[in-house]
Amino acid sequence: MKRGYVKSSPHFFRLITIALGLTAVAVMLLAALVPAPLQEQGNLARVPNPVKSAWFLLWIQELVSYSKYLVYPVLALAACFIALPWLSPAAPQQGACWFPRACRGVSWGRLSHVCWCSR
C-alpha cells in the first residue's frame, strides 16, 4: 500500500454506509411528519387560481409568464451547462478544491442562477 493510501474496504465503504443509512432514516422519519397532500378529484372544468406547475418547474413558469420567448434563454443556458467541459479551457487541476481559479466565472454564474431559481 502506497504511503497516504488506505484500503477502500473498510475505510471508504464504512463512510458510504453511514451516509446512506443516515439519509434513509432521515427521509423515512420526515415522511412520517410531512404527509403528502391530496386535493379533490381532478376536474378540467374547475380551474384553480392560480394554476401552478410542479414546484421544480415554477421558475420557468414565472419566466415565460413575461414572454414565451424567454424559454429560449433557458434552453441556451441548458446547452451551455451541457457543453461546460468544452467551454472552459482550464488545465487539469493538481488537487481537489472549491472554486478553482480557472472556473471562477462559471462557479459564480451557476450560484447566481440557483439563487434566482430558489427565490
Binding site: V6, T23, V34, G42, K52, L57, L84, P85, A96, W98
Partner: protein, 206 residues
C-alpha cells in the same frame, strides 16, 4: 456477488486525506439512496394504484384510508422524490463549483446531465398519477411549457395524445414513470459509477 460487484465500482485504495466530507459531501451517493427509497416505496404503491382516469383517484383514496401504512408510503415516495431532485441539483452544483466536470471527466458530466434531465422528467410524470386537482393542473401547466419549446408540439402529442388526464395519457405517464424512466435512471447511474472508477476514483486525483 452483488456486494463484490458494488465494491468493484469503487477504487481498491483511496487517499486517506480525501476521506472527509468537505469535498464531495456524499451528495451523489445520497441522491442514489433516495432513488433506492423511491424504487422500494414505488414498488409497494404499485400493488394498489390503478392507471385509469376513473380508478386512479379512488385507488389513492383507498390506499390512504384502508391500507395499513398506505398514507405513510405515499408520503415517503413523495418526500424521497423531492430529496432526490434537491440532492441532484446540489450534487451538480458541487461538481460545477469544484470544477470536477473538466476533462478527462467530460463524458461523465454528459451522463450526469442526462441523469438530471431524467430525474426531472421522472418527477414530472409522477405528478399526474394521483389525478387530483394539483396533479392535473400542474401537469397541464407543464404541457403548456413544453408546447412553447421547439418541437414541443410534437412531444406533447406523443405524451398526451388524448389531452392531460385522458386514458391514453395517464397510461403513457404511468409506463414512463414506473418502467422506462426508472430503467434509464438505473442504467445511467451504473454508467455514472463505472465512469467514476474509470476516471480513477470517487474523488479526483486519487
Amino acid at each position: 456477488m452483488i456486494e463484490d460487484f458494488l465494491k468493484h465500482l469503487f477504487p481498491r485504495a483511496v487517499l486517506q486525506r480525501n476521506l472527509t466530507l468537505s469535498y464531495t459531501l456524499c451528495l451523489g451517493g445520497l441522491a442514489f439512496t433516495c432513488l433506492m427509497l423511491l424504487g422500494a416505496s414505488g414498488g409497494l404503491l404499485l400493488f394498489y394504484y390503478q392507471p385509469t382516469p376513473a380508478a386512479a383517484y379512488p385507488s389513492i383514496l383507498l390506499l390512504e384510508s384502508s391500507v395499513w401504512g398506505g398514507r405513510y408510503l405515499r408520503s415517503l415516495h413523495r418526500l424521497a422524490s423531492h430529496f432526490f431532485l434537491v440532492l441532484i441539483v446540489l450534487h451538480t452544483l458541487r461538481v460545477i463549483l469544484t470544477g470536477a466536470y473538466q476533462k478527462p471527466r467530460q463524458f461523465n458530466w454528459l451522463v450526469g446531465c442526462a441523469l438530471f434531465l431524467c430525474a426531472v422528467f421522472e418527477g414530472y410524470t409522477g405528478y399526474l398519477l394521483p389525478m387530483d386537482q394539483l396533479a392535473l393542473w400542474a401537469t397541464q401547466t407543464g404541457m403548456e411549457l413544453l408546447h412553447i419549446m421547439p418541437l414541443g408540439g410534437a412531444l406533447r402529442a406523443v405524451l398526451v395524445p388524448d389531452g392531460v388526464g385522458g386514458p391514453a395519457s395517464l397510461l403513457r405517464f404511468y409506463v414512463l414513470h414506473i418502467l422506462m424512466v426508472p430503467g434509464l435512471l438505473l442504467f445511467l447511474s451504473g454508467l455514472h459509477f463505472y465512469r467514476i472508477r474509470r476516471n480513477k476514483g470517487v474523488l479526483p486525483y486519487l
